[in-house]
């Protein structure tokens, strides 16, 4: 069966990949320029811990991961809740001079990574560990309809917030001090930006997987910044590089039976390499 004949098999995963990649490619602009790449990795782990915790808590109430779950037991509710708490924690410490923000991010990353393994090894959910692993770390090959809907809703919400507050997010990111001096609520905007990142990571990790999510938040924006010095061009290129990596990566992985997530990541890295070559050529001419 050719790739196009099998469109009924890949249409939903492809849509999820494109939506997630586009969203993350856009957010990557802020992730790269604010130098919070490690924060996005930590948010991914924290939201994963939320998913694992949802199953563990559900096991006490006889909730099966295979069934329709009540909102309060839903893995996505837990993932979002945990990720949003992480976003709050990552925003608050910058007030303190004693604890560097990076230390809090590292603590969250390490503690979440360890606790996910501990929770997954709990005898209460051990038999579900494989399927939970898919939910936790994503599987771009097969995406359930409900995950696609959650991803689309999350993307619309995040992009709507950014459409309204883009000028404010940009100002506080570029010059926090001056923005504060003009009465711009920098702390609230930092929290809003980190929360939007948390939502994007929580909904896309389950559809795409942790590695592609981290890659799409860093590589396309980093590459776009090497290609242009114009704000609009950088934003468009970042989203385009991300979506092209997702679509072509999916097609290549299908055609040559390669692992989907890593192929997407490799393509995104290729754009960075091309950007580096362009810079190098520009410097020599």
């Amino acid at each position: 069966m050719s790739f196009w004949d099998a469109s009924f098999l890949w249409l939903e995963p492809m849509l999820a990949s494109l939506i997630g990649a586009g969203l993350l490619g856009y957010l990557g602009f802020f992730v790269v320029l604010r130098r919070v790449a490690f924060m996005s990795a930590a948010l991914s782990q924290v939201s994963g811990l939320g998913v694992a915790t949802a199953f563990w808590v559900g096991s006490f109430f006889g909730v099966s991961p295979h069934d329709e779950t009540a909102f309060w037991f839903s893995p996505v509710t837990f993932a979002l809740g945990f990720a949003l708490l992480g976003a709050v924690a990552f925003t608050l410490p910058s007030r303190s001079r004693r604890v560097a923000p990076e230390s809090v991010v590292a603590l969250a990353y390490l503690a979440s990574s360890a606790l996910v393994i501990v929770v997954l090894n709990s005898p209460r959910i051990a038999q579900e560990a494989h399927e939970i692993g898919d939910l936790l770390f994503g599987n771009a090959v097969v995406v359930r309809r409900e995950h696609l809907v959650q991803l689309a809703v999350g993307a619309v919400l995040v992009l709507a917030v950014h459409a309204v507050f883009f000028k404010d997010f940009l100002f506080t990111s570029f010059d926090h001090e001056t923005a504060a001096s003009l009465g711009v609520p920098v702390r609230a905007l930092d929290l809003g930006l980190h929360a939007s990142l948390a939502v994007a990571v929580a909904v896309s990790t389950r559809a795409l997987g942790a590695l592609p999510v981290f890659a799409f938040l860093v590589l396309p924006a980093g590459a776009a910044l090497l290609f242009s010095e114009r704000l609009k061009v950088v934003l468009v290129l970042s989203v385009a590089f991300s979506m092209v990596s997702a679509a072509v990566g999916y097609w290549l992985s299908w055609t040559w039976s390669l692992p989907t997530g890593p192929v997407m990541v490799a393509l995104a890295a290729l754009f960075w390499g091309l950007g580096g070559l362009k810079r190098l050529a520009g410097a020599r001419s």
Binding site: F165, F171, F174, A179, A180, S181, L182
Partner: protein
């Protein structure tokens, strides 16, 4: 009437760790005030307190008519991140954010004001050039334009000439001085250049939080060899000749002048 009045204000970030003795001064309309002090003296902290971005540890900070004045702020240029893909006009537009409010887009009128502000610092032609591609002096002028575009009553500059050669420094301070006179705004600036404070301010503040030192008064009275030597802890000579202030370190330690 004072734009800002500080009554026995103690600055700092944490209770029990003051960075100054009680400070008492006021900023009037049209004032030009220079702040001098060694590294770590608390100068930038004092600016942040005046700007309202940190609260005083104690004392009272009050404003004319009970409202904070409109402020234009010029940060230390090297603190900005030049990786951002912004052109000069986009940087200047940010100065309108305080007037626009949250979640409101910049309009045509804001863009026109930003162009005018760039023109007022002589940089109309670089409006669409990448901010990072500009020279240090041009970048500082763009930041001055950004501070002016919000129609401030008080202009606050934190070491605006720290990365400039003497000619660029003099050009920027002359520009600011002219704009301040034309627009009748008050200006408060931190500098390490004693000659710059002497040449462009009518009032100076001498601050060294570590030694609980604070003095404010007319520039002609406070900028002298004795006080500068005490403030910086090393021999500084100050001399006035033909309306200019010459400053140099004694014992062949180099010098500066204007």
């Amino acid at each position: 009437m004072s734009l800002i009045q500080l009554e026995d204000v103690v600055i700092g970030y944490r209770r029990g760790h003051p960075l100054s003795p009680p400070i008492r001064f006021s900023v009037q309309e049209g004032d030009a005030i220079g702040i001098l002090g060694p590294n770590g003296a608390g100068k930038s902290t004092l600016l942040k307190t005046v700007l309202g971005t940190i609260a005083p540890l104690s004392g009272k900070l009050s404003h004319q008519h009970g409202r904070a004045p409109r402020v234009g702020y010029v940060p230390q240029g090297h603190r900005l991140d030049f990786a951002y893909p912004l052109d000069a006009l986009q940087v200047v537009l940010m100065g309108r954010a305080g007037r626009k409010g949250l979640a409101r887009f910049y309009g045509r009128a804001d863009r026109e004001l930003a162009r005018q502000a760039l023109g007022s610092v002589g940089l109309t032609e670089v409006a669409h050039q990448a901010f990072r591609s500009l020279s240090g002096g041009q970048r500082q002028r763009v930041l001055v334009a950004r501070a002016l575009v919000g129609d401030p009553e008080l202009l606050v500059l934190d070491e605006p000439t720290s990365e400039m050669d003497p000619a660029a420094e003099h050009a920027l301070l002359s520009l600011v001085s002219g704009l301040v006179t034309a627009r009748k705004v008050a200006v408060l600036f931190v500098t390490h250049q004693i000659s710059a404070a002497a040449g462009f301010s009518r009032t100076v503040m001498l601050l060294d939080g570590a030694r609980a030192l604070f003095e404010a008064g007319p520039t002609g009275e406070l900028v002298n060899s004795e006080r500068m030597t005490r403030l910086y802890g090393r021999p500084v000579e100050v001399r006035r000749e033909h309306g200019r202030t010459l400053v140099w370190l004694s014992a062949g330690e180099g010098g500066e002048g204007t």
